[in-house]
Symmetry: C2
Subunit: 354 residues, 2 copies
């Protein structure tokens, strides 16, 4: 069944023309060497710059484009305003930081509806308050077609408490917060309008419409020193774990049956006729945290998740080498191993240090 809005598929078709990672690599190369002002540039969830010796600023930037990242036919404006903030502060939390300041640039088309915008702005400013950050500036421009929102968020943390993507070591356990694939399942349900009234599917839809960033959890994982590497799950486990492994010069092995979410998604997957593993392994925009920790810290990690009211699940381990392997148990009890790195849901959208 086709999407109600064909433009929503733009990102996928566009990928055949140009690969986002190539563009980022190209810009990175042109940008030239960094200097002492910069602790980390392109290649992590945020850029990291020195504040005052003891602390650093974390800076991230994300753009949401109508009919690429959101569809106004089913996205309530207030939830979209919240999501615009959440997807950005998620990057701050994923490095262990506390969000502080938000800048917003809005591109608005001619047919713009004032009531819609007021609801969007209310959601956005409410989310800013809830995450503890101030809206300090931005820009407003005309857009030839469709709404676009670009946010820059600045966070801070102690210099020694920043958690980078690059700290995973062989032997570490791979953890994820919450459930995977819910946002992808929710988007599929919303697009197809299938059994919209089924309340059992509400958490999936809500995860697409109004994800919450794991800022408190990220901050505690940073402050405790438990996370050896961390990032947020924006492009799906397969892609994001590959990024983390590449930055850490390691490989990872993930056990399919340990991935949290598959059983919860079974009914929605049946209704839509898809394999729930696709959502869990490849689905983007969950904005959960993906991190690694030493195996001996297992109970401390679980305790910390419990303090934040978030389920934390060990899903695999870090090994030497490169790439990401998914281990599936066959019906006959034997195992198969599949390389899944970068096979995820790539909506031509990434965190180039932002």
């Amino acid at each position: 069944m086709p999407s109600r809005n064909p433009a929503l598929l733009l990102s996928q078709t566009f990928l055949s023309v140009v690969n986002e990672r190539q563009i980022i690599a190209y810009i990175s190369a042109l940008a030239g060497p960094a200097d002492e002002r910069l602790r980390k540039g392109i290649g992590d969830d945020c850029a990291v710059i020195d504040k005052d010796g003891e602390k650093v600023w974390l800076v991230t930037m994300d753009t949401l484009v109508e009919d690429v990242h959101f569809d106004c036919t089913f996205h309530p404006p207030e939830k979209l305003g919240r999501k615009a903030v959440s997807v950005n502060v998620s990057d701050i939390g994923a490095m262990g930081g506390r969000p502080q300041f938000v800048l917003l640039s809005v591109g608005m088309p001619k047919g713009f509806d004032e009531a819609w915008f007021r609801a969007f702005a209310r959601g956005l400013t409410d989310a800013c308050r809830e995450y503890g950050c101030l809206l300090i500036g931005g820009d407003t421009v005309a857009s030839p077609q469709g709404l676009t929102f670009t946010l820059t968020v600045i966070g801070e943390t102690e210099t020694e408490r920043v958690v980078y993507r690059s700290g995973a070591r062989p032997g570490d356990t791979v953890w994820v917060s919450g459930f995977l694939g819910f946002a992808a399942a929710g988007l599929a349900l919303l697009r197809r309008g299938v059994e919209a009234g089924n309340p059992a599917f509400d958490p999936f839809r809500e995860q697409h419409l109004n994800p919450r960033a794991r800022v408190e959890l990220g901050g505690k994982l940073g402050a405790s020193g438990l996370a050896t590497a961390m990032m947020d799950l924006s492009d799906g486990l397969a892609t994001d774990l590959a990024h983390l492994c590449k930055q850490s010069n390691v490989a990872a092995r993930v056990v399919a049956r340990d991935l949290p979410g598959i059983s919860a998604l079974a009914e929605a997957a049946r209704v839509l006729g898809v394999d729930p593993e696709q959502w869990v392994v490849g689905g983007g925009e969950d904005f959960e945290l993906l991190f690694t920790a030493q195996p001996g810290d297992r109970s401390r990690v679980l305790e910390l998740g419990s303090q934040c009211g978030v389920v934390l699940t060990p899903v695999g381990s870090v090994v030497e080498g490169e790439g990401v392997t998914l281990i599936r148990q066959r019906q006959d009890g034997t195992c198969e191993e599949v390389a899944i790195a970068y096979q995820g849901y790539d909506h031509f959208r990434n965190r180039a240090g932002g």
Copy 2:
């Protein structure tokens, strides 16, 4: 004669639907009160946040949209890349700061041309280097129609050296750097393709295609303490001086014949059949500096401009009251006074503290 690209007029028609200042005012109200983390939020060229007590960060964000802010049919990509940086660092310079870090979010349509993008990226990264800033991150997304570029620039300066829009006092002299109206004239020439070969018009076209930000001048005006208020001229003298007056709770009187640029624009204005005063008073995107200084500092201001190789011209004075008045000399020697506040070229694009 119509514009070659009707979409270029989008911003003007859109203004009848919604007023940018209203949107900014609405978001500002929703954003709620600031706190001690923020020295200045929405309402100046940059947001100002504390760095380490002695210094502050200046943060600005600007978006350029194809067919609203630039037209690829005549804008060479390398110059567009430079301009994207210049219009942002201009805001840093306009508060007396030094640009440090740049984040870039790119929205790219399907028909995207790799050679074009490489030239754009080269211009952008060259400009970063020349202004002394590092490209530290950003985002890349698919765009349903047309290119969009959003940049965030972070600058720094000494806390006591920031020049706000709010410091103008009655009796101060109003100054501008360089020439006014060149960018508007250049855009009109480029759009109409009139006498493209006339080298006398090159400076006007260049001012639209590749403006230079007055960062050195802005820094010296801040460090010297000479500027009592300052901003960059992005929306035209009439609009921007009105912003400065409003923030300072004063009015300004400007003498038409003192405005630098009118005589240089005479021939281009004759060819296009327009009044050059429209360009000089209402033309946007000159990215020159508009500032006020005490009358006794006149020679020190001129000396400082000379150090930077920039012509500085006193164009009027600050008085009590509100609004901006243009004083014109009639043919018969008498004067007429016209209220010009906010009558300028408003391309639905502003610096909402960014």
